[in-house]
């Protein structure tokens, strides 16, 4: 564990606040015209999935967590936990579903992920910025609807609902931004 100044915190870092590990999801600098600088942070409790807003003076000392990233295969879920396997040691471990509320929409059985761990505890799964996923449920576009930009909702294999252009059909592969969960483009294979 190392200490850093709050002003050096970046989005995506893991820090400790009152002994709870948090992922930094937003960071905004505030410089009052007549005062010293502050940072407003939005943190995600990696155990409960709850978020927390907190303000620090840029000079405050913050505990940064030394995390390790391991290549792991996602195996399955029993509804309460997700089960992963470390690709080097073949050790299997469970992660409570609550801690991966956002990531769960992108977990595909058998795929490899970068898993962030702090000792024995899993703090998160690092998703690639974009993922290609198959459309498993889609209604046909409304006939005669030629309005540009018309859209509809489809489901992909993990159950995530995505807003897409009207021409997307079931069975097609679409690229999704994992941060915003928004449709990016159709992938022609």
């Amino acid at each position: 564990m190392g200490q850093i100044k709050a002003g050096a915190i970046e989005k995506g870092m893991f820090i400790l606040e009152k002994d709870i590990p948090y992922l930094v999801t937003e960071r905004e600098f505030v410089n009052p015209g007549k005062g010293s600088s502050f940072v407003r942070l939005k943190l995600k409790d990696q155990r409960s999935g709850a978020s927390l807003k907190i303000t620090h003076k840029s000079q405050d000392n913050i505990d940064e967590i030394d995390v390790t990233e391991q290549s792991c295969q996602y195996l399955y879920t029993d509804g309460e936990s997700f089960v992963f396997m470390n690709n080097e040691t073949f050790d299997q471990f469970e992660v409570p579903c609550d801690g991966l509320e956002d990531e769960k929409w992108f977990l595909i059985e058998g795929d490899a992920y970068r898993v962030v761990r702090w000792g024995e505890e899993t703090l998160g799964v690092k998703l690639p910025p974009k993922m290609d996923m198959e459309v498993t449920e889609a209604e046909d576009g409304v006939k005669g609807d030629t309005v540009q930009g018309a859209s509809k909702y489809v489901k992909v294999g993990t159950g995530l609902t995505v807003k897409v252009p009207i021409f997307i059909k079931q069975g097609e592969i679409i690229r999704i931004n994992t941060d915003t969960k928004e449709y990016q483009e159709r992938i022609n294979k």
Binding site: N31, G35, S37, R40, T55
Partner: protein, 313 residues
């Protein structure tokens, strides 16, 4: 930045100039390179050097605001003036509201106090809304005292809990991080920035008035109180402007210079002598780029300036 927004930016600047010119204010230009600055311990400045081929070079600084020269001018020429100037602030990490180089207007009105400057600033915002059809600035204005803002958004009266120990207790009650070494101003700012500022009304042009005098500035104190004759302007929740009734008492200015001398630039300790004949006046300053963000409805400063600063080119 789009060509359309460049046109709009140009129209906004012309409108601001027309507004002040038509009211008899003189536009002046003062240096942005200065051998000394007014000490403001919280501001990091850009330092350079004025070199000499055979003698030692001397430090010079890019101004964080044109105040240092405008006040020197006013001590000799007590007339209504404004300046639209490039300003520079270091160490403020780039973000949606910050660029190390930005444009600011400062306007000084003789015989005015901070409330009079508020009136003319409201006139300016109304004028922009009336003359520029694309303006998205709120139509309404609201004045709110700092103490009222604390009551509304922090749930307690700042005036009645002014002592640092009370403030620290309140911060703890609100779950706000504090540190043993925090002074009064830091404790105030922790609460203000954590819970008060984010909740300020966004559907009006908000004039937040009567700041604590424990935040040391060159604003005149309201006699017999812990408040200073000062306001800040918030547009869409973003701080865009600042105004003082200017402190004109040379002893008080000298004290400010002595108390604030822990800065990393040269301070001219003779500067307070200018205030031996300084006019009663009030100065306002508005960040032009942030004002344009409000007028155009753009939420990033990078959308209203050409070539936002980047380290990697």
């Amino acid at each position: 930045m789009t060509i359309e927004n460049l046109h709009n930016r140009s129209k906004i600047l012309q409108n601001i100039r027309d507004f002040f010119n038509s009211r008899g204010y003189l536009e002046i230009e003062t240096p942005i390179l200065s051998p000394s600055l007014i000490p403001e311990p919280h501001l990091d400045i850009f330092k350079t050097a004025h070199t000499h081929p055979f003698k030692n070079s001397r430090e010079a600084y890019l101004i964080p605001s044109p105040e240092v020269w405008l006040k020197r001018f006013l001590s000799e020429n007590p007339i209504n003036v404004y300046e639209i100037s490039k300003c520079f602030r270091n160490s403020e990490q780039s973000g949606k509201q910050h660029n190390p180089e930005f444009t600011m207007i400062e306007y000084y009105s003789m015989g005015f106090n901070h409330k009079d400057t508020m009136d003319i600033t409201i006139e300016l915002l109304d004028d922009i809304n009336n003359k520029l059809s694309f303006s998205k600035l709120p139509k309404k204005h609201r004045e709110m005292e700092m103490d009222e803002a604390f009551k509304l958004y922090a749930g307690f009266s700042l005036e009645q809990n002014y002592h640092i120990n009370n403030l620290k207790d309140k911060a703890k009650d609100l779950g706000i991080y504090t540190d043993m070494s925090d002074d009064w101003e830091t404790t105030f700012n922790r609460i203000f920035i954590d819970i008060v500022e984010p909740n300020l009304p966004k559907d009006v042009n908000l004039f937040l008035t009567d700041f604590p005098s424990d935040i040391k500035t060159l604003a005149k104190n309201i006699d017999g109180t812990q408040w200073a004759e000062r306001w800040e302007l918030y547009i869409n929740g973003i701080e865009c402007g600042n105004c003082y009734t200017e402190e004109a008492n040379p002893e008080k200015v000298t004290n400010y210079f002595k108390e604030s001398s822990n800065v990393e630039h040269h301070v001219d300790m003779n500067y307070p002598l200018l205030f031996k004949k300084f006019p009663k006046c009030s100065g306002g300053a508005i960040g032009i780029d942030r004002l344009i963000m409000g007028i155009l409805g753009i939420d990033e400063i990078q959308g209203v300036i050409l070539f936002p600063y980047r380290d990697n080119i």
